[in-house]
């Protein structure tokens, strides 16, 4: 999947759908990798299901 091959110019931005733990992590990584990121989330705030958890295994530290 070599990037420079295809004809038209590559756009340096990425759309991330979903603001849960996975969405946030990929958005953060991409932003720090130098891409402009659009994060689309259906709820008024990000956090997804993880924000509803009290503690998480295996470390029992707080999900928030």
């Amino acid at each position: 999947m070599n990037s420079s091959g295809s004809g038209n110019p590559m756009v340096g931005s990425v759309l991330v759908v979903g603001g849960g733990i996975a969405g946030m992590q990929s958005a953060l990584d991409l932003a720090e990798m130098g891409y402009y990121v659009y994060l689309v989330e259906k709820e008024p705030s990000i956090g997804g299901v993880m924000a509803q958890l009290d503690k998480t295994f295996p470390t029992n530290d707080c999900a928030m």
């Binding site: 009290d54 470390t59 029992n60 530290d61 707080c62 928030m64």
Partner: protein
């Protein structure tokens, strides 16, 4: 001045207990006014000097709170701090500082109600022990009788 009100200096770790204090605010949980909070990056940052310094400045109580062991944003800060606090509390109380003055707690950033509860507990405990009698070098200007006087002369000095 009417009845004495306990003056408590609290050292809160920024990531957990300070966050819990903020969340207690957002949830409008009321707790007594006697606490003045100093923010430090981690409970590991709290040097025994600060606790001695606070007592020397006439604080009636000192409360130190950090993340639960394992929750520390800096992975191990609170583990080391725990040993320091254990030895310091034992030494101070051995040498005569009343047991109700020095308080330690672990409060995570989501435990707003525990923060408010502990705040009440600390204030009541210090109130029970009474005003600071020992180990005082300087008087706090905190809503004290002389405070206005000191402020006045401060102004003259400019």
């Amino acid at each position: 001045m009417n009845a004495w009100e306990p003056k408590i200096i609290a050292f809160l770790c920024n990531w957990c207990s300070y966050g819990a204090a903020d969340l207690a605010g957002v949830s409008r949980l009321q707790y007594p006014v006697n606490i003045r909070i100093i923010r430090v990056p981690c409970s590991g940052r709290i040097n025994p000097k600060f606790i001695l310094g606070a007592l020397r400045h006439g604080a009636d109580g000192v409360w130190v709170s950090g993340c639960h062991p394992g929750d520390c944003h800096y992975i191990e800060g609170n583990y080391y701090a725990r040993r320091k606090f254990a030895l310091l509390k034992s030494l101070l109380e051995h040498t005569g500082i009343e047991p109700g003055r020095l308080h330690f707690s672990w409060i995570s950033s989501a435990e707003a109600s525990k923060f408010a509860e502990t705040a009440r507990e600390v204030v009541e405990a210090v109130r029970a022990v009474g005003p600071a009698r020992h180990f005082i070098k300087t008087k706090p200007t905190w809503d004290d009788i002389e405070a206005p006087v000191q402020a006045a002369c401060q102004v003259e000095v400019g």
